[in-house]
Every structure is written in C-alpha cells, then in structure tokens.
C-alpha cells in the first residue's frame, strides 16, 4: 500500500540517522515510484536525516565512524533521487572549492565538511588533499566559485592557507571569493590574521558558508 509523502520523508530521514543504506534506497525508490517531488526528498528527507546526524555528532552521541555511515546511507538515497530532480533545481547553487593544503594528507575533517555542505545544497568541488595553494585559486576562478574551504591538521601546513589568501589579494579576488578555514591547529585569531573565516567543525562550517554567500560578511 502506498505510504503518504510525509511518512516516507520521515522514514527516509530516520533510515539515514540509523545508518541503514538498504532501507534508505528502498524508501527512496518507493518515493520516486509515487512520483513525489525529488527536491523535497532531499530537503525534507535525506538532508534532514543528515542534519540530525550532525546534531548527534555535536552532542557527542555520534562520532566520525557513525557520521560517515550516515552519509553513506544519505548518498545511496541521493543516487536514486537525483535523476528525478527538475533541471533548474540542479543549477544555480553556490559553488565551493574544498581541499587540504599541501603537505598534509589528513582529510577526514575536509570530507566531513564536504558531506555536510553537499547535503545543504552547495555544489562542492573537492580537489582532494596535499594541494598547492595556487590550485585552489585557479579552480575557483575556473568554476566561478563563491568560496574556498581549506583544511589542515598540521601546524606545518598553515602557511599554505595564508598563501591562498595572499594570492586572492594579489589577484584582487578577495571580494568575490571568500575563504573559510578549519582543522585541528586553526583558531579564529589565525583566520582573522590571514583574512579568512573560521569554522570549528563540519556543522558550523555549513552555517558559516550559508552566511558568507548570503550576507557577504567582510573580514
């Protein structure tokens, strides 16, 4: 028997929080079979589940393994939903270039931020890890990105973040492309100093990114 839309959405959110890939796929399939709206499935189902997972992470109920398993469930549902999105819902999103600066190969934090940003509707281009500063700027120019998000876990690679900000300044791009930074050794005062915006963790990064593209906060 056909379940109603709200019920399916709630179940999808729950199956994401409960890290159940198979159930999420099953529910997403049932949802598209009913020809309900794809955009709502993401916003009010999958993303809502990921949101709750992020909240559980902030409350220290969930940790990184749990959050990654939730995101697996979310992405597997997304694969079913995506072909059913209307065209205009797929374009016009804010674009973010993300990566780990050169010299560091730790990218768990970056991956979490990426997951949360994608869930919240950003178009995220992931350069990966160990990335030279100039590459961030080049890619951001190429795709007309609004933001560059940089992560590092090592004190030794923080200079690379400063270099990205420096290159943007030299090319007179600081107004157009904002920089957000995060990771173990990074502090707000460091971010302020180099002309970037600081985010403490993945869920706060989403709020910061939303503010930065909306209100165009100045450093």
């Amino acid at each position: 028997m056909a379940k109603d839309k709200a019920e399916l959405l709630e179940k999808m959110a729950k199956s994401v929080v409960e890290m159940d890939d198979d159930l999420t796929v099953e529910l997403a399939q049932e949802y598209v079979d009913q020809q309900y709206d794809g955009y709502d499935a993401i916003n009010m189902g999958l993303a809502k589940g990921m949101d709750r997972a992020g909240q559980l992470y902030e409350e220290e109920e969930y940790y990184i393994p749990e959050l990654l398993m939730c995101s697996d469930a979310m992405y597997s549902g997304l694969e079913i939903i995506r072909p059913h999105l209307k065209q205009q819902e797929r374009s016009g999103k804010s674009k973010i270039v993300i990566g780990v600066v050169e010299g560091d190969t730790h990218d768990i934090g970056k991956n979490l931020v990426k997951i949360m940003l994608e869930t919240s509707g950003f178009d995220v281009v992931d350069l990966g890890r160990d990335i030279p500063p100039i590459d961030f700027v080049e890619k951001a120019k190429e795709i007309h990105a609004d933001l560059i998000a940089l992560s590092t876990l090592m004190t030794t690679t923080m200079d690379g973040m400063e270099e990205v900000c420096q290159i943007l300044k030299e090319q007179d791009l600081t107004e157009r492309i904002k920089v957000m930074v995060g990771g173990g050794p990074i502090s707000k005062s460091f971010a302020d100093k180099i002309g970037a915006h600081y985010s403490e963790d993945a869920t706060k990064a989403v709020k910061l990114a939303q503010q930065l593209v909306k209100e165009e906060i100045r450093c």
């Binding site: 940790y63 990654l68 190969t105 730790h106 768990i108």
Partner: protein, 350 residues
C-alpha cells in the same frame, strides 16, 4: 645532578626529580627544525633515508641546547611504507606522507607485507638509534611507533577504515591484530638497538574521532598489547600520545598501561591530571605559540603547563620545522629553572 636519561626515567615512573625534564619524542612528535638543519648541515628529506644523517640531525637538537633527548624517526610513515603504502619523502620543511594505500578494504588485510626490521627505513631507524646511544649515554634515546589505529588508517583510505570498523568489525579486528603484531616487532627492534624510552603516537585513534566506545574497543586493547609485549622485552619507559580533546576518554586513558600520557594543547592539563592519576602527565606547550610566540611568552606557557600538573614538559604535538631554536631553548631553559616547583607538583599529583 641527574643526567637527562635518569631524570626522564624517574619522571616517567612518577618519582620525584630535581625539576621536570623537557623532551620531544620524535616520530609524529617532530622535534626537527630548520635552525638545527643549518647548524648540523644535515637536512630533510635526505635524513629520512640515511642512518648517519638521521642520527646527526636528531643529536643536533640536544647538542644545541634543545630538547633533552634524542628521538627518531622524524615521521610516522616508516611502518606504513614497510607494509606496502607508497610514501612521498616530503621536502626540507614538509614531513614524509603516505600517498597511496595498499588496501581497498579491511577484508584484504592479508595482502599486507609484514615489516622487515632488517630492511628499508626500519633498518635505518634502528641503526640511527644505535649510533645515538653510542654518541652520548647520558641522553635518553626515544624510539617511536605509529599507533595501531593510525597505522591501519595509513594502509587504507581512512573514510573506508572508520566505517568498516563497524560494518566489518571482525575483519577490522583481524587487521588490527596483524598491524599490532608488526608494531611490536618494530618496537622491539628499536629497543634492542638501544632506545631507553618508547613513544607511541596515535593521532587517528582519538576519542574525538572514534568516541569513547570506539576508543575503548579499537585503540586501548591494541595499544596495551604493544605495551605489554615491549615490557616483556625490556624495562623501558613508555609514552602514549593521543591528539585532540581527551575529556570524554579519561577512563580509556586511565586503562592504558603506559607510564605517561602525552596530549594536545586543546586538552586542559589540570583537568586531565586530576582525572588520570596513574600516569606521568606530559605536555602540552602549544606548537602554535612555540612557532609564532616570543621566548619570554614561552617561558610563561611552560610554567603554566607545570602549574597545571604536567610532570614532563614537552610540545603538545609535533613542532613546525620553521620554529626557532631560540623558542625551543626558552621552554628547555624554563624547565631547567623550575627546581622546587616541580617537587611540590609531584607531591600533589602522584
């Protein structure tokens, strides 16, 4: 007057000493800076693959008024490379790092090569330890191991690894057993070569990443297995370094059988020393202040650490190679001037 080796040995065991030792173990807890490269004429990346260069560079820190120990290697990629990971040796100022993993899933763990302690960089490290021991018997030589979770997540993409800890728990534990037995072999080889202290750093196996339950299940048992096996071999002092906030894993830290717990600047030394009472408390001078701060400020930070319950003074993490030697000297000199304060601290903590 105690030698640096005697002082560290006593402090690790919780005995009263004239003043806190000031050390930096090596391994993930890097102590090599450009100033020392300039003074010794030896530098990265060459020193990662040559025992003589490695020993000279490590000794250059102590011999120029720096930390009161020798410590090798200068990275945490020796074990992963020996087991099949591809490693980029980095540059003069960037540490070596893993660039390709040999495994796609924990299920494939039996594809891993065992560490051959008589080959490659494992052998270079043990040779460097022997050279350092001969160089100055009064200075403790600290051997280093990559922690078991960090090694496992250097052999497989960490995103996959962390998920499979739960999705494929049996296979994940099998892999952890194998990784642990290899760490034991390399640890023993370093002790046999002459190290008097072993430091195990597990930046990927933290309470912040795994949570208290994960830390208890996947970090503590394997760390303790290594510690027990090393103790069977020799009476060396053992340090465990865990990154990140420790407040949710005090009981896990207490359950570790190491002599000392070393920790990040983000963790409050006072709260830790009040909650973990069965270990020497080692830390936790911010590496950011160490690199960017002035020497006078560092002397204050060092004092603050000791006032908060630290009994072995050290940086909170590996230090950046651009850190000035003068700044390292500032915290070492601060430790040297501490005399009575440390004794008072001792009696209230231990």
């Amino acid at each position: 007057m105690l030698t640096p080796k005697e002082r560290l040995s006593l402090a690790l065991r919780g005995n009263a000493v004239d003043r806190p030792p000031c050390i930096c173990p090596g391994g993930m807890m890097n102590m090599i800076v450009e100033d020392v490269m300039d003074l010794t004429g030896k530098s990265w990346p060459e020193a990662h693959t040559d025992a003589l260069l490695m020993a000279d560079l490590a000794a250059g820190v102590y011999e120029n008024g720096g930390f009161e120990n020798f410590g090798v290697p200068f990275c945490m990629t020796v074990e992963a490379e020996a087991m099949g990971a591809k490693v980029n040796m980095g540059t003069r100022i960037n540490e070596p790092r893993v660039t390709a993993y040999p495994l796609q899933s924990v299920e494939e763990w039996n594809k891993l090569q065992p560490i051959d302690v008589n080959a490659g960089r494992a052998k270079i490290v043990t040779e460097a330890i022997a050279l350092l021991k001969a160089r100055n018997p009064d200075v403790p030589v600290i051997a280093n191991l990559c922690g078991p979770v960090s090694l496992a997540s250097s052999l497989i993409e960490p995103m996959i690894y962390y998920k499979e800890l739960y999705k494929k728990a049996d296979k994940a534990h099998e892999m952890m057993e194998f990784v642990t037995s290899n760490l034991i072999a390399f640890g023993k080889a370093q002790i046999q070569a002459g190290a008097s202290v072993l430091a195990i750093s597990d930046p990927s196996g933290t309470g912040e990443i795994l949570g208290p339950r994960g830390f208890q299940n996947f970090a503590v048992p394997y760390l303790n297995k290594i510690i027990a096996a090393i103790r069977e071999e020799s009476e060396v002092g053992i340090i465990v370094h865990i990154c990140g906030r420790l407040k949710n894993i005090y009981s896990g830290i207490t359950a570790l059988d190491s002599d000392a717990i070393s920790f990040d600047s983000i963790t409050n030394a006072k709260a830790l020393s009040e909650s973990v009472t069965n270990k020497a408390i080692m830390g936790n001078v911010s590496t950011f202040i160490l690199e960017k701060g002035a020497p006078e400020k560092l002397a204050l930070v060092a004092r603050q650490c000791v006032e908060n319950g630290v009994t072995i003074l050290s940086p909170a993490c590996g230090i950046g190679p651009k850190t000035a030697l003068a700044n390292i000297r500032a915290i070492v000199d601060a430790a040297k001037s501490m005399k009575n304060a440390s004794l008072n601290q001792k009696t209230c903590i231990l």
